[in-house]
Each structure stands twice: as structure tokens, then as C-alpha cells.
Symmetry: C2
Amino acid sequence: MRYVIGIDIGGTNIVVGTVAEDGSDVLGLVSQPTISEQGADAVLERIAKLARASMAAARGKEIAGVGIGSPGPLNTTTGVVLLTPNLGWTNFPLRDRLAHALDLPATLDNDANCAIFGEWWRGAARGVRHVVGLTIGTGIGGGIVLDGEVYRGASDIAGEIGHMTIELNGRRCKCGNDGCLEAYASGPAIAARAVEGIESGATTSLPQYVNGDLRKITAQLVYEAANDGDDYAYEVVKDTARFLGAGVANIINIFNPEVVVICGGVTLAGDRLFGPLRGEAKRRAFKPAVDVCRIVPGALTGTAGVYGAAAVFMRRTWGRV
Amino acid sequence: MRYVIGIDIGGTNIVVGTVAEDGSDVLGLVSQPTISEQGADAVLERIAKLARASMAAARGKEIAGVGIGSPGPLNTTTGVVLLTPNLGWTNFPLRDRLAHALDLPATLDNDANCAIFGEWWRGAARGVRHVVGLTIGTGIGGGIVLDGEVYRGASDIAGEIGHMTIELNGRRCKCGNDGCLEAYASGPAIAARAVEGIESGATTSLPQYVNGDLRKITAQLVYEAANDGDDYAYEVVKDTARFLGAGVANIINIFNPEVVVICGGVTLAGDRLFGPLRGEAKRRAFKPAVDVCRIVPGALTGTAGVYGAAAVFMRRTWGRV
């Protein structure tokens, strides 16, 4: 049994694990904050240290290589990260730098592609032909797996589902477009909508969670308040479900997948989110398409990207996972 | 050289041609109104007559089979049309009925899939890996060709790009959803928006084109008036371009294709439409994705579906086109 190191680089945290080639096990799962402000070299060194720590925990196993998942846009052929606003990298040869530091062959792919490929390989979408997924956090990423292969498009940009316009003249998105799904349903967007309602006079206990400092309201706090019975927070969750439901309906009408998988912190909202989300998708999408599609939360909380990054390496190197 | 009959069934017209296996030629191109009110049997008989007329024009050639493109939803495996609101068919075994009538093997696929596959094989998207297309007429169909293969999804429903929500609480669509692209930019939707503006007091010569009977305004008349210098009609075209541009931007962000091809009567509006459409797509989509994508009108006016239906037969039967 060979093992592959899976590396999931996020804007907040780096997660690394050593994954068995049959996906049955992940050894030496380790994590540290990204601290991108320290610059690319410091982050690279931190990633290499985490990888060495993970390998140490997998002592005695044959390590065949490294799969890296990173925010993009990036080039999967050259292994270069072209631009990551969150990490501050430009034309950074991440794959080869890390391969050199660890003296192992490496592959690079988009973080959301890795997460959804991980869910396809070992998670909530195991065994299906077509799965499309969203990773909801600071932004909304998307991954597309068709016939069991990551779909990357003409230049590795495919899958930017979070930047689908769902409201023509809607909320301004960080990408420069108006009305992107991400501008409504990313973590910060959920918090922003909650704060806007409070500032407009909504009755809610949410300010008590942050001692009145509304800047400290997060999506997680909104879910917490909704779970604690706060009606307003629950309304914010239901609005989020409607926005996501419209986006998911679009995915269903376009891809007719067996599974739409939704990953990230938003899944903490549980059925309070997924109930109205499924209802909205059902209301909007074509019946014969929505009838064959499961809409589910990711099953590999915190490790989907690690599994998927390793799986991309295996697929690229050995032609299979 | 073998030949395949390509059949393109539309809500208004049926077009049939006999296509050379290398795509170099189409013989016996014939067309008739569909007249779906006469019922499925009458339409089937009309299709068979057209096919025989086309074969007669291709006398002496070896005819290997029949490729059929039909509105859906349909099942490409069983060859059954499940439901076509425009044609009034329910669970109609179109492929086998026609194969029997013509005594030839046949394949069935969605009309928009055929049109875009035709554009990929012999038209505006020749030679590219990934093309996504829209067919704009009474409705807005969509076809997806990835790595040179029609992408059909889990149950042959994929590609319903016209039913992508672009405005959450927008115009009601015939499909039951709100804010579909089709509700803004199909032929009837373009006419409806033009009429609404006139009824709200817009200054325009459009009513003169229809002797004051606004019900007779069509999308084609709007393009004609715009070409004749009518400012209001041009505004309607530019609005159409903006709606389509948002939809195309979504396609570009999701699929990162080399080509987005737009087929149908709307292409008559020419650069008046495609100029602002490209501008809107560029404004909304990710730069590295939009930079590698051509947005073009279909090149096989009136015959894309015939070429594509024949090509689907060839691909399914011979494994190649």
C-alpha cells in the first residue's frame, strides 16, 4: 500500500494528511494557520514542515508523492499559481518549489476541485458519475466531477460557480461583478446581510452574542443564534437557503448531476439550511433533473481537500484512484 | 462514402438533410412546417416523407442510418420522447417508430445538443475541445460539448441553460420558475419586452411595422426596426444583449470553454447584439476565462441541427465523426 501526502491550502488554515492509495485511511493529519501576511516563502516553509510532520506520523509507509490543492487561478500543467488575492501570490511556482523542498513528485490543482473530487472519491458523492459541488467559506468555490474526472475547462478556470450571476443588478461581489451567488451566500456575505438587517431595526438577540459589536457577527454566530431559537437569525439562514437554492437549481438544470454536494462551514446550519435549500431548488429546477439529484452536505468535514488533493496526484500519476 | 439522414424537429419547422460521413456535404435538404396540432402520427408521417424525399435527392448514395434531433425531455437510450409541451407528445417512441417507417437504424438526441454538436463538428466551434451553446428561438435551449462529446448528464436533461435563474424574483418563465434567462431573451420574451415598453409610452416606429397591432410584434421585427434606425428597438436589442451577456458570463465562469456559440433567429441582430453581449460577458466573467473564449454566432444557419443529428448517429454507431 502506497501513500500520498494531501495538502489543502486555505486562506485561513493549511491542512495536511498522508492518504492511503485505497482511500481507507489518512495518517498524520496536521493543521496550522496560513498567515499569508508573512509572504510566500514563509507559507511554503510552513507547508513543507506540516508535510514532514505528517510523513513522520506515517513512518514506515511508502510515500509516493504530494498532491496540492490551492486557491487559484492556477495552471495544473505547469504547477504555477497565477494569482491568489487571499494569499497574495502571483505566478508562484508552488508545485515545483514544494516538490523540491520535499524531494517528492507533486501535482497542483484548484482547492475546490480537490474538495469535490475528495467527496466523490471517499465522501458524500461516492460512486456517482456526475457531481457538482460548492465549497462555502470566505468565498464560494466550485468543483465539477464528470464521469469521475475533474472538469477543468480550457485553461483550468472552470467551476467558478460562486461567481454565477443570480441577480442582474444585485449585490456587488469582490470579483467586480454584480449579483454573484458568492455576494449573497459566502460566510462574510451571510454576516453582512445579518448586520444590515440589524442596522435596519430587526428584533434579534444576535448583538448579545458579540457584546453589541456588530463587526464581530459571523455566519457561524448566525447559525448558532438560529439554533438557539432566534427568529431573525433563522430568517437570515432561510434567505441564505433561498440564494443557494437558486444557485443549486441552476447547477441541476445545467449539469443534471446525481449529486450536488455543499461543503464548508455553512453545513453547520444543518437541516435549518438544507430543508429550505432543497425546497427552493425543487421549486426552481426541472422536475426530471431535480428528481434524480441528491443535495447533500459534504461528508469529509475538514479533510475533503486533503483526500481530493491526494486523489488528484494518484489519478494524474497512476491513471486511477 | 456513407451518408446519414439528419432530422431536426422544431416546434415550427422540420428540416431534413442527408449528410456525408465526412461532413463535407449535405444532400436533399428539405423542410416543412411541423403542424403539431395534427397529432403525433401525422407529424411522424410528415417526417418520414421528408426523409424519403431527402434520400431520393441522394439517390445512389449508401444511407447508413438516421439521426433525429427533437425537443425534450427525452431518453437517448430508449429513444423515447418523454414530454414536449410544444409538440404535445408524451412518452412517444419517436426513434423506433421512425426507424421502422424508414427501415433504417436510428438515434435520438435533444435538438439543442444536436445543434451545438453540429456547430462543433462543421460550424463555428470546429476543432475546439469545449463548447457550450445556446439555441434561441421560441425558447432557449442549450447544448454542451466537452472534450468533443455531447454532455447529457445523469438522465439526458443536462444543458437547460435557458432555465438558469439570472434574476431571483424576475420575470415568470413558462417552466414555472422566476427569472430564467429564457424569460428575458427568447424570441417571444424579446417581443413581450418591446410591447411592454410601447404600452408604457416609448417613442418608436415599431407599431407602424404591424399596423398598430402590437400582438404582431416579433423579435425579428425588433431587429428589423433596430437596423432601420429605431432607437427604442435598438434599446430592446441592447437589453437583450445584457441579459444574454449575463447568461454567457455564467457559462464562461462555470465551463471555461473555448467557444460560446449562439444559434437561432437572434443572430439576425448581428453586431448590434453581439457587440454589447460580448461587452457584458467581459464585464461580468473572470478575465482569464473570458480572455480565452470566443463568443460567436452559429455558422450553420438552419442546418446545425441536421448536421448535429447525423453526427450523433455517426458517433453512437461508428464511435467517431
